[in-house]
């Protein structure tokens, strides 16, 4: 229960924070961070828990965004469009997963890039959603930033809750077994194909909802923005920064990314993808555990110092 205290405290602070006089820009950054955290935590369920690295999560983000956008314009309540966005993304994840989960490791990763790019091209040429020129959401209610803030916070909390539940369940144990050794998992009774599809669907549902929540805030989306390859890389990068295959790692990674991403894109519009690439390589080379790995390393070091300086009295 002690371990549950810091995250609950953080949640409490974030819940009452808007009561203080935050500027609209800070609220915006926090909102985008919540969306980032939700996608990061979602990706980690497949990429971390089950160890299946996908470069194709923009597909689910984008489909969620477009589902909400089209839904709102058709007069559906925004809050009813989010589950719809999840459902569309989850169905898409099955269609993507059925062929690609026959592949392993890097081959799976490459296949997801292909699916992601194909989806982007289709959406760029889809007349009904305006193609490459994008799609505008028209709502006949006044824009209230604080409503978006709380929607984002609720979404991020939901994602973390789902992640904890999955981690502790029998399903989560099966995913860990698959991550460690897929053959051994199958030989002890785990159905790897079905479990990977399940993890993919849960991850996609969270990512789709995040896309929907983002779309309503942005009020304008275009294929390059929500389906683009940088989006896929960004979603993968967050849990890698924070520490894959943990509960808090993807939250930390999403937090870091959400805060710095806007700034990076604004300052280095052409270069930011290159920066991500370098960052990923540095993390994989020096600390595959991400921020969480670094913290653990620091703790071990501190402990060793303590032991070394210990004097019998």
């Amino acid at each position: 229960m002690v371990r549950a205290l810091p995250p609950l405290l953080l949640l409490g602070v974030l819940a009452i924070l808007p009561l203080s006089d935050l500027g609209p820009n800070s609220v915006k950054v926090l909102f985008l961070t919540f969306v980032a955290v939700a996608t990061s935590v979602g990706w980690n369920i497949l990429g971390g828990f089950a160890g299946q690295v996908s470069f194709g999560f923009a597909v689910f983000y984008g489909l969620g965004a477009y589902t909400t956008a089209v839904g709102i314009n058709l007069g559906v309540s925004p809050y009813a469009t989010y589950p719809l966005a999840s459902a569309v993304a989850a169905v898409a994840s099955l269609l993507v997963g059925l062929p690609t989960f026959r592949l392993r490791g890097p081959y799976f990763a490459i296949a997801t890039i292909g699916v992601s790019e194909a989806t982007r091209v289709i959406m760029t040429n889809l007349e009904f959603t305006g193609g490459a020129s994008g799609y505008r959401i028209t709502e006949h209610v006044p824009f209230r930033q604080i409503e978006h803030y709380y929607t984002g916070l609720a979404l991020a909390s939901l994602a973390v809750a789902v992640s904890i539940i999955v981690r502790r369940s029998r399903f989560g144990l099966g995913l860990r077994a698959i991550r460690d050794d897929q053959e051994a998992a199958a030989d002890i009774g785990v159905n790897p194909y079905a479990y990977k599809l399940g993890a993919h669907a849960i991850a996609a549902a969270l990512t789709g909802a995040a896309g929907g929540v983002y779309a309503r805030y942005a009020a304008f989306i275009d294929p390059e923005g929500v389906f683009g390859f940088p989006r896929s890389v960004g979603i993968l990068l967050m849990p890698v920064i924070g520490g894959v295959n943990t509960i808090s790692g993807p939250v930390i990674g999403g937090g870091v990314y959400g805060v710095i991403e806007e700034e990076l894109v604004a300052r280095f519009p052409q270069l930011h993808l290159l920066l991500y690439g370098v960052l990923v390589m540095l993390i994989i080379l020096f600390e595959p555990g991400g921020v969480i790995g670094l913290l653990q390393r620091a703790r071990r070091l501190a402990l060793r110092r303590k032991v070394a300086s210990w004097q019998p009295s």
């Binding site: 077994a177 460690d180 050794d181 053959e183 030989d187 002890i188 009774g189 785990v190 790897p192």
Partner: protein, 240 residues
């Protein structure tokens, strides 16, 4: 006793190379059956096909009278066939206890129950109860073999396929593993046991099947196989 497993004309080609050539045999319930043969005789391939990790080129397998020829590995486990691997394949991110828990929660009997106690019972049976909280990655080769066996037993198999559980172990470790196999059999599990060591086979098995170059060379009681000229020739070579 009743036939538990029957294998009929099982053949497996690896792109032109024949690994198993029309192998047929039956396993009766409750026995420990030894499967021996020189390196490359097809023992592990036979195991993989029975456990469902590989599909045969032709032939038929039935388990308790039902067709199991192209069964998926996890389905085979749910129905009661589980295997160990020659080189242990532990889940390295987990503790010893968690490894066993995977077997308990995904094996044949998946009802909710007291996992803690059952896992400990199995670890006691294989002789490593004190290692329950250790990370699997920290275990020695001998203990990894015990863990492999513990995890497979946790799946509650009716037919246990044991692939060279004694290879690389010391004499005393081997004796304790053989004793363990006898205890597992006494508890009602049928065992097929791949082994190089003839002495281990003779001291443990009721029945022996000899493979050579993918073909069944002979089968019978262990004492008889030990003195069979064809078997001796396959193992040691022809007398000059």
């Amino acid at each position: 006793m009743a036939t538990l497993l029957s294998v009929e004309d099982l053949t497996k080609y690896f792109s032109g190379l024949v690994a198993l050539d029309r192998v047929s045999f039956e396993i009766r319930e409750g026995e420990i059956v030894g499967l021996i043969g020189p390196n490359g005789a097809g023992k592990t391939t036979l195991f993989s096909i029975i456990a469902g990790s590989q599909a045969p080129t032709s032939g038929k397998i039935s388990f308790e009278g039902r067709d199991f020829t192209r069964v998926k590995p996890f389905r085979a486990v749910h129905e009661g066939i589980a295997r160990t691997h020659q080189i242990p394949k532990p889940f390295l991110s987990m503790t010893v206890h968690e490894n066993v828990e995977v077997g308990l929660r995904f094996g044949r009997d998946r009802r909710a129950r007291n996992l803690e106690n059952e896992a400990l019972e199995i670890l006691e049976l294989v002789g490593i109860p004190s290692l329950a909280r250790m990370p699997a990655a920290a275990l020695s080769v001998g203990d990894l073999k015990r863990l492999e066996l513990a995890r497979t037993l946790a799946a509650r198999p009716r037919l246990l396929l044991c692939d060279e559980v004694c290879a690389g172990l010391t004499e005393s470790e081997m004796q304790s593993i053989l004793g363990l196999l006898r205890r597992i059999q006494a508890l009602g599990t049928t065992v097929i046991y791949v082994e190089h060591n003839l002495r281990a086979i003779v001291s443990t098995c009721h029945h022996v099947i000899v493979l050579n170059f993918g073909k069944k060379l002979a089968e019978g009681p262990p004492e008889k196989m030990q003195n069979d000229p064809a078997v001796i020739e396959a193992y040691i070579g022809k007398k000059t």
